[in-house]
């Protein structure tokens, strides 16, 4: 029993009587499937004068809240701003538990003063009000910060709307490593290359990206400072160099090297210490992912004949097997609280699906997608969403999903193949 509802943000905006400017198209389309998720009903009115700012601020906030899976928006027509006194019975009648409104005012120095207020409709009281003065280029960021504040106040945990996502696009054999806002907007190119780029990984401080580039004719691990563009080759040994993963303290980079004959895990000391080999088998060992405490590393190995996920102490020692269902389990990603692993399985029908597995034991794996070509899951820094690559209508696309698979959104990418997503950390 699944009910599927689909709605584009533009239709939503139109239904609410908002200006349907092209900017109102957020790049993620929200596709809600399934019922039963507990979602807090929130009213969000248009912000006063936002149409003069060039950005649909309230629509960005609304899309952010919906994508998180924690909220649903209620019918929110009407004109108000942060100074208004809401007619609480009216909002209760619409089914709202909370209400957001605000304004956007152009300042004499060209910046914009973005103000908002969040009300508790049930109690009939203010929760928080804030003002942010930002240049026009940061209006989207201001909207994301408002969504994060609302998220935090209403759920007690951090929102991820002001974080960034790295991914790779391919068009006519030109590859680009791009960085966008968490809603897929505001994209910037960090690296353009005629050769493939795979496996981007954010440093824990969000300043650097490690990735695999084929620019020299083979797979080499590079680290690039996002702000300055400075690049450094950190692994270009004989053979292939790939699958970079940062330790939580940012001082080590786990990589896969074939320098000794077969793909094995090694640890690069980013402070200049010696290279350390982590696994010693005659099988493929690859795709390292650190546990959030840095004490252990999850990875993929076919030492048992087929690829399965294992865990090994970072200090070295015996590996223990983690996945037991299915004959092809790859690409582990560990949630920030260390309790859940997302990975890709090949099921009996040959479909590749994103799964989640509770690492605390007992439970069986859960499929969180219904597509056939999933790859590269990556957790949002608050652990509430997973971004992954998939295919739809013959294109490589990016999807986000809640951990229960009930709220999924798709990045609309205007004719580009998009793949290899990596969700960045908090803070920028």
């Amino acid at each position: 029993m699944q009910i599927q509802r689909r709605r584009s943000l533009a239709a939503l905006a139109g239904g609410l009587g908002l200006a349907a400017s092209p900017l109102a198209w957020a790049q993620f389309r929200v596709e809600i499937s399934g019922i039963g998720a507990t979602q807090l009903p929130v009213g969000i009115t248009r912000f006063r004068d936002e149409e003069r700012s060039g950005q649909p601020v309230s629509a960005i906030v609304r899309a952010d809240l919906e994508r998180s899976g924690m909220f649903r928006t209620v019918e929110s027509s009407g004109t108000m701003d942060e100074r208004s006194l809401p007619v609480y019975p009216d909002w209760r009648a619409r089914g709202a538990d909370a209400l957001v409104s605000g304004s956007v005012t152009k300042l004499s120095d060209g910046r914009f003063d973005v103000r908002f207020k969040l009300w508790d409709v049930v109690k009939g009281a203010e929760i928080v009000g804030q003002a942010l003065a930002v240049p026009g280029d940061d209006l989207r960021m201001a909207a994301h910060r408002i969504a994060d504040e609302v998220h935090q106040r209403l759920t007690g945990e951090r929102g991820v709307n002001a974080t960034r996502i790295a991914y790779v696009t391919r068009a006519a054999n030109r590859y680009a490593l791009r960085i966008t806002d968490a809603d897929g907007e505001g994209g910037q190119v960090a690296l353009a290359s005629p050769q493939p780029i795979i496996s981007p990984a954010w440093s824990p401080d969000g300043r650097k990206l490690a990735y695999v580039s084929f620019e020299t004719g083979k797979a080499v691990v590079m680290v690039q400072d996002v702000l300055t563009g400075a690049r450094q080759s950190v692994a270009s040994f004989r053979g292939s160099n790939s699958a970079p993963a940062w330790s939580p303290d940012g001082r080590k980079l786990a990589v896969t090297l074939s320098r000794d004959g077969v793909s094995q895990l090694y640890l690069i000391d980013m402070d200049g210490g010696p290279l350390r080999r982590l696994t010693t088998t005659t099988a493929i060992d690859t795709e390292a992912a650190f546990a959030p405490d840095g004490q252990s590393i999850y990875f993929v190995s076919d030492r048992g004949g087929a690829p399965q996920i294992y865990r090994v102490p970072t200090a070295g020692g015996n590996a223990e097997r983690v996945t037991f269902s299915g004959s092809y389990n790859i690409s582990p990603a560990i949630s920030p609280d260390g309790r859940t692993m997302a990975y890709v399985t090949r099921d009996g029908g040959g479909a590749f699906r994103v799964m989640t597995l509770e690492l605390t034991g007992g439970a069986s794996p859960n499929a969180v997608s219904d597509t056939r070509d999933d790859e590269s899951p990556s957790f949002a820094p608050n652990g509430r969403l997973i971004i992954y690559a998939s295919r739809a209508q013959g294109r490589d696309v990016l999807m986000t999903t809640t951990l229960d698979g009930k709220i999924r959104t798709r990045l609309l990418s205007s004719g580009l193949d998009v793949r290899e997503p990596a969700w960045g950390p908090f803070g920028r």
Binding site: G217, S240, S242, S258, S263, P307, S331, G350, F352
Partner: protein, 189 residues
């Protein structure tokens, strides 16, 4: 010489261009050898004392045939004409018997040209993860490189690398396309 003269003209020419390519120690970033034109071929020939055939290469400037085979003999000639792509079965790293000759020819050529370098690029079909496929492609490339070492090529002469599923020759999504993509390509350095 009389051995060579029995080869038909086009085959000799093709072999010559290929061999000249093989003999070049210059690193080429771009196109595979086969796409080079005659000018590139003769330029390589003129500077190709590394082929180990001084008596021949020294005396001829323009001929594309000269450096081919007089001293290299059948092995070198076979390396040129044997092809450069080894195909693999699904989920397999075993070099099929039909490609043994090809690998042997390239290995012999390396054994008798110690200055020559090759790279073996492993590739997979599109199914599955990018990193795991990169490792699978590496395993295919290593299998070919190891065979070449067993047949006399120096270990430092051959580097095995992988492109995983990143560089398919066929974009199709059926077994025919996948079979073409599961391969190792032997390239000159």
């Amino acid at each position: 010489m009389n051995h060579t003269s029995r080869i038909t003209g086009w085959a000799a020419a093709a072999a010559a261009v290929l061999l000249v390519g093989c003999s070049s120690a210059v690193k080429l970033d771009e196109a595979p050898i086969e796409s080079r034109d005659v000018k590139a071929g003769s330029a390589g020939g003129a500077g190709s004392s590394g082929t180990g055939s001084p008596g021949v290469a020294g005396g001829t400037g323009q001929s594309t045939v000269t450096p081919v085979d007089l001293t290299k003999g059948a092995g070198a000639n076979a390396a040129a004409s044997a092809g450069r792509v080894v195909y693999f079965d699904f989920d397999s790293f075993v070099v099929r018997d039909e490609f043994r000759g090809l690998i042997e020819a390239h290995a012999r050529n390396l054994a008798s040209n110690k200055g020559k370098r090759m790279v073996v690029e492993g590739h997979t079909d599109e199914r599955g993860g990018r990193e795991y496929n990169l490792a699978l492609g590496q395993k295919r490339a290593e299998a070919v490189a190891k065979s070449m070492a067993l047949l006399g090529a120096g270990e430092s002469q051959v580097e095995a690398v992988s492109f995983g599923k990143e560089r398919p020759v066929s974009e199709g999504q059926d077994e025919a396309a996948w079979a073409k993509n599961r391969r190792a390509e032997l390239k000159d350095r």
